[in-house]
């Protein structure tokens, strides 16, 4: 598995500026857009917020994984964002979220990419990884952690 196909240093923000759920989605979508991963920003944003409406992707344990599958996405990509202070993401455990993964998937995505994403989702369930991600000091370190 090669996570660099999905994630690069431009898509990692160790300290997010946003304070609200809405803003954090916008902020991370902008990273994707600037890195040329999107065809239609609004369309993708809508997919993500629609998904949030079903129920919050704040899965607890300080993690949120907003995601959207949309034809507005050019190629599958991942954004990593971190907020030391924490953001109220209406998480299932009512705790603040600190680690954010924004996932973008085009309508027709390769199985390879989907598998990588499913692997990351699985890994996030492990406490050690979550702690390491919180303590990582550089984007490169984040990539290495997720790569393992």
């Amino acid at each position: 598995m090669n996570i660099t196909e999905l994630l690069n240093v431009n898509l990692i923000k160790l300290e997010l500026n946003s304070k609200t759920k809405e803003d954090v989605i916008k902020e991370m979508v902008n990273l994707l857009d600037e890195d040329g991963k999107l065809l239609d920003k609004d369309k993708y944003t809508k997919a993500v917020t629609d998904r949030e409406k079903e129920f919050s992707t704040g899965i607890g344990m300080g993690i949120a994984i907003p995601h959207g599958k949309s034809s507005g996405v050019k190629e599958a990509a991942l954004v990593f964002g971190r907020s030391t202070e924490g953001i109220d993401y209406q998480s299932m455990d009512d705790e603040l979220a600190h680690i954010f993964f924004l996932i973008a998937v085009p309508e027709e995505s390769s199985n390879e990419h989907l598998k990588i994403l499913s692997q990351i989702s699985r890994k996030l369930m492990h406490k050690e990884l979550r702690e390491s991600l919180m303590n990582a000091s550089s984007p490169e370190e984040i990539i290495t952690l997720l790569q393992q």
Binding site: K69, I103, S109
Partner: protein
């Protein structure tokens, strides 16, 4: 202790896998065995095998999508949302450990092969009964209205704009829907809403190609299982899945069912009808009683299908050659006894019919008297192996006696209404004896052959 689980979420990208991982981790910690199948955007991964499902104590389904439970027949299922597994996987597993297993399951799982077969048969029967029960009121409405039109006079419907003509048209419309409804709801029972379109169309075609109710039954089953097959084989990307129910399933299934009805069923049926007609023409000079038997068997075998049509058309054609026809008389007698005989059976052997069927038996009297053979179809469709031989035997008796008594009639329809018209029936007494005898034979045979209705 072993468990199996399925996780699935709407997008199938993240939660599905998180829930799976959470369950795996929790199970490890608790020292139990679990296998989790993920149904995500990549399709099903880590698929559960039959053996694993069999050995599992409980099936956990953590999903916000519709997970098919067919595989888990007889298992105890614990169903929760996908987030419940992420949030508290341990609690979920604990719940599955504490859950009471309904004891019907443990017993059932042992002899699985035979069980499955039985269930299957029950399924087919259930589908058939669904179709039949939706069809019954159409037959009653149509048949009785047509009969009413004869009450105005045997040819009253031929006067344009008359109430008799209207009644016959209205009744005909209801009657015409009988096959589409039968086939449509058989398919509906098998495949839910998507089954309705190919089923109704297939039933309609069964009537246009002259395949009768047996053709309609075939169309219904074909339609239902075609939908199931299409659903299984066509895998579309999520974005196109919305097209499945509105375009893809209706178009493809109707195409398949339609073509099969036209070519695989329609062609042989029309060839058969032609062959039967030829055979009957050649028989014209044969022994009268024998011809009556043949006509009777044909009238009552498929009641509206190719055999029936051939016999009826042959009867009508003889009326064109002479003012009255003994062959037509035999055909009509044989067409009256199937519903009449069954109606008789619902009275003399009440236990062998459901309450609904007994009610339906009352309208069968009226339909039989009016020479609307279709009145027997709901019964024949529900239990063909018992009913059809009975109706055939009774009709053969009626046909043969009518021929032997040299009864003859002047019109190709009308049933009992014809009997009231002076000089419309030659040897009226003999004719009545023929019909009554046929009715009694069918009634007794049905009563003997049919099993008691099992009270559930």
């Amino acid at each position: 202790m072993k468990f199996v689980a399925i996780t699935s979420c709407p997008t199938g990208i993240a939660h599905t896998y998180m829930a799976a991982e959470a369950l795996d981790m929790a199970a490890k910690e608790m020292g139990i065995e679990i296998k989790v199948e993920t149904q995500g955007s990549v399709g099903a991964e880590n698929q559960l095998t039959e053996a694993e499902i069999r050995e599992a104590r409980v099936v956990i389904i953590a999903a916000d999508t519709n997970v098919s439970k067919e595989r888990f027949a007889g298992k105890t299922i614990l169903e929760v949302g996908v987030k419940d597994a992420i949030k508290d996987a341990k609690g979920l597993i604990q719940k599955a450990i504490d859950m009471k297993i309904e004891d019907k399951n443990t017993a059932k799982n042992v002899s699985n092969v035979e069980e499955e077969k039985k269930v299957e048969r029950k399924g087919v029967y259930k589908h058939l009964m669904t179709g039949v029960s939706y069809m019954i009121p159409f037959v009653a409405a149509g048949g009785i209205l047509i009969a009413l039109s004869f009450a105005f006079g045997i040819y009253a419907f031929k006067v344009d704009g008359s109430i008799a003509a209207a009644l016959k048209d209205v009744g005909g419309a209801a009657m015409g829907l009988m096959y589409p409804i039968l086939a449509g709801f058989i398919a509906f029972s098998i495949a839910d809403r998507p089954g309705l379109v190919p089923g109704v169309v297939g039933g309609m075609l069964a009537s246009t190609v002259g395949a009768g109710f047996l053709g309609a039954m075939a169309a219904g089953f074909l339609a239902g299982y075609t939908i199931l097959l299409l659903k299984k084989t066509i895998k579309l990307p999520k974005s196109l899945q919305g097209l499945m129910p509105v375009i893809i399933l209706p178009v493809l299934s109707t195409l398949v069912v339609g073509l099969v009805m036209m070519y695989v069923i329609g062609k042989p049926v029309s060839a058969l009808t032609v062959a039967m007609s030829k055979y009957l023409t050649n028989l014209s000079g044969a022994n009268a009683g024998f011809l009556g038997i043949i006509l009777g068997l044909m009238m009552a075998f498929d009641m509206g299908g190719p055999f029936n049509k051939a016999a009826y058309t042959f009867g009508v054609s003889t009326l064109a050659l002479a003012p009255s026809s003994a062959i037509m008389a035999a055909v009509m007698a044989a067409g009256m006894t199937p519903p009449l005989g069954i109606a008789l059976a619902t009275v003399i052997a009440k236990k062998k019919f459901t309450a609904e069927e007994r009610e339906s038996g009352k309208s069968a009297w009226a339909l039989g008297l009016a020479f609307i053979t279709e009145g027997a179809i709901p019964f024949a469709a529900a239990d063909p192996l018992k009913i059809i031989p009975s109706t055939m035997t009774g009709a053969a008796v009626a046909g043969a006696l009518s021929m032997i008594f040299k009864s003859a009639i002047v019109a190709p329809h009308g049933g009992i209404f014809l009997l009231f018209i002076p000089h419309a029936v030659i040897n009226l007494g003999g004719y009545i004896v023929a019909i009554v005898a046929g009715t009694i034979v069918t009634g007794i045979m049905v009563s003997v052959l049919k099993k008691d209705v099992v009270v559930k």
